[in-house]
């Protein structure tokens, strides 16, 4: 799928790493990399690495946060201090908290929380190396880790970031593309798709994009998510 040509041609004709516009970065997965966790997974897409560890369902403390109707899901996303060229100050920050919340909302769509009242499922996502698309890599890793932890789920979740460089739509944005400044500049749209119902569980946009282009971008994201979903399944089936 190539760029939409309306008034004039897009300035972004070739991707910085030579990929096709709808091509994902090379993906590597690993299940059960954290022996102390109930479930864990690693998802590597190009240079971006996300590690997710799942604990629980376990009793929730403080007690007043417990819900006798259903369990709660807690996501903690953090980047390691050496993950980016400029050292990231360790510990939670505003960006991390927001992404944690956004991932939590996306994943709570697929976890069956009603089956374990008064408990909590903790998901910890760490980024040892960042090259854009960390939240989507985090979701992919977390979904695999949740399945590996034996948490009841309606379906799996897979996520990808689609972008618009000037007038060209691309899948799985890398850092260099994210910083693209020519023409209309760069737009970054992380999308999370649920595997069975094909619902969109996460949709953010950072930049300018027209409605038509957004529709087209979502189609591309759906295709890419289905590819990622297959990779996730393969990883889980081969893990022992």
């Amino acid at each position: 799928m190539t760029a939409k040509k309306e008034s004039h041609e897009s300035a972004y004709k070739e991707r910085v790493d030579g990929r096709a516009f709808d091509e994902l970065r090379e993906i590597e997965t690993k299940i059960g990399i954290i022996p102390n966790a109930d479930g864990s997974a690693m998802y590597k897409s190009g240079k971006t690495i996300a590690i997710a560890a799942v604990f629980g369902p376990r009793t929730l403390h403080p007690q007043h946060m417990q819900n006798p109707q259903k369990g709660i899901l807690r996501v903690n996303y953090d980047m390691m201090s050496f993950s980016v060229p400029d050292r990231k100050k360790p510990g939670p920050n505003r960006r991390g908290q927001e992404i944690s919340k956004v991932i939590e909302w996306a994943l709570s769509q697929c976890v069956i929380l009603e089956e374990f009242p008064n408990t909590v499922v903790d998901v910890f996502i760490q980024i040892p190396q960042a090259d854009a698309g960390t939240r989507v890599a985090g979701i992919n890793a977390a979904a695999m880790a949740l399945a590996h932890a034996g948490v009841p789920m309606r379906e799996m979740a897979s996520a990808v970031a689609v972008g618009k460089m000037d007038k060209t739509l691309v899948v799985d944005v890398c850092k260099e593309e994210e910083d693209y400044e020519e023409g209309e500049g760069a737009t970054d749209i992380p999308v999370c798709l649920l595997s069975r119902s094909k619902k969109i569980a996460l949709l953010q946009a950072d930049g300018k994009i027209s409605i038509d282009e957004l529709k087209q971008a979502l189609e591309m994201a759906k295709k890419a998510c289905e590819k990622i979903h297959e990779i996730q399944l393969k990883a889980l089936k081969e893990a022992r």
């Binding site: 629980g56 369902p57 376990r58 697929c110 408990t119 399945a147 034996g150 948490v151 595997s195």
Partner: protein, 224 residues
């Protein structure tokens, strides 16, 4: 049988057809039986189940578990057994009379207790020690394994446990929550039993496991 034991992931269709019944880890969505868990498919006649491969222990009535005393209350004890909740062992479920002021003399903080689950309510899990083989663990060692591997350690009608008992000349109590108590005259034998159990957990889901375990036990015997 081939198709019967494949690994399935959440959201995948296990089987299609109105005649099948969804069991543990599955649900019905119109015609399809959909998996909700990651595990092995088990279809026996019309019942479709998913046997979990990993995850925390989910308590069931009648299970024998090994738990640690984490609290002494006025009418019983609170036991932690690694599940999603704690178990409550009432003073009434003890085989002999206990003075309410001296609960700690019977079971104290940190004691490991073999107990049986007699009821699961929304409020909590009730335990009992009023049966043979239940009660406080005094000697021996306790090891922890993945609770999903416990059925392998026990084997068909306890066949695997008997193999270990014979090979290592020891007593074994397997808690469904993944804690295993081993007691022998000599520490050497306890360590041997531990090695065999670890072997079982590493090689679970292979064909003819009992025979392989027997071989492994013989090899261990020659070395020592």
């Amino acid at each position: 049988m081939e198709n019967n034991r494949k690994i399935i992931t959440p959201g995948e269709i296990v089987i299609q057809g109105e005649e099948f019944l969804p069991g543990d880890g599955t649900r019905r969505e119109k015609e399809d039986i959909v998996s909700s868990r990651y595990g092995l498919v088990d279809i026996s006649e019309k019942l479709v189940r998913v046997i979990p491969l990993s995850g925390v222990y989910s308590p069931r009535r009648g299970n024998v578990i090994i738990g640690e005393v984490i609290d002494v209350l006025f009418n019983g004890w609170l036991l932690d057994f690694g599940g999603s909740g704690n178990g409550f062992l009432s003073i009434n479920e003890c085989p002999r009379f206990i003075n309410k002021d001296e609960l700690q003399d019977t079971f104290d903080f940190g004691d490991l207790i073999v107990a049986k689950i007699i009821g699961i309510k929304s409020k909590g899990i009730d335990l009992t020690v009023r049966m043979r083989g239940l009660g406080k663990l005094e000697d021996g060692m306790v090891i922890k394994v993945n609770p999903n591997k416990v059925p392998r350690v026990i084997g068909k009608e306890g066949s695997m446990v008997n193999v270990i008992k014979e090979a290592a000349n020891c007593e074994i109590t397997v808690g469904q929550n993944g804690l295993i108590w081993i007691n022998a005259q000599e520490i050497k034998n306890e360590l041997k039993a531990k090695k065999i159990i670890e072997f079982i957990c590493d090689n679970s889901y292979t064909e003819g496991l009992t025979e392989k375990v027997k071989e492994f036990a013989d090899k261990l015997g020659e070395e020592s």
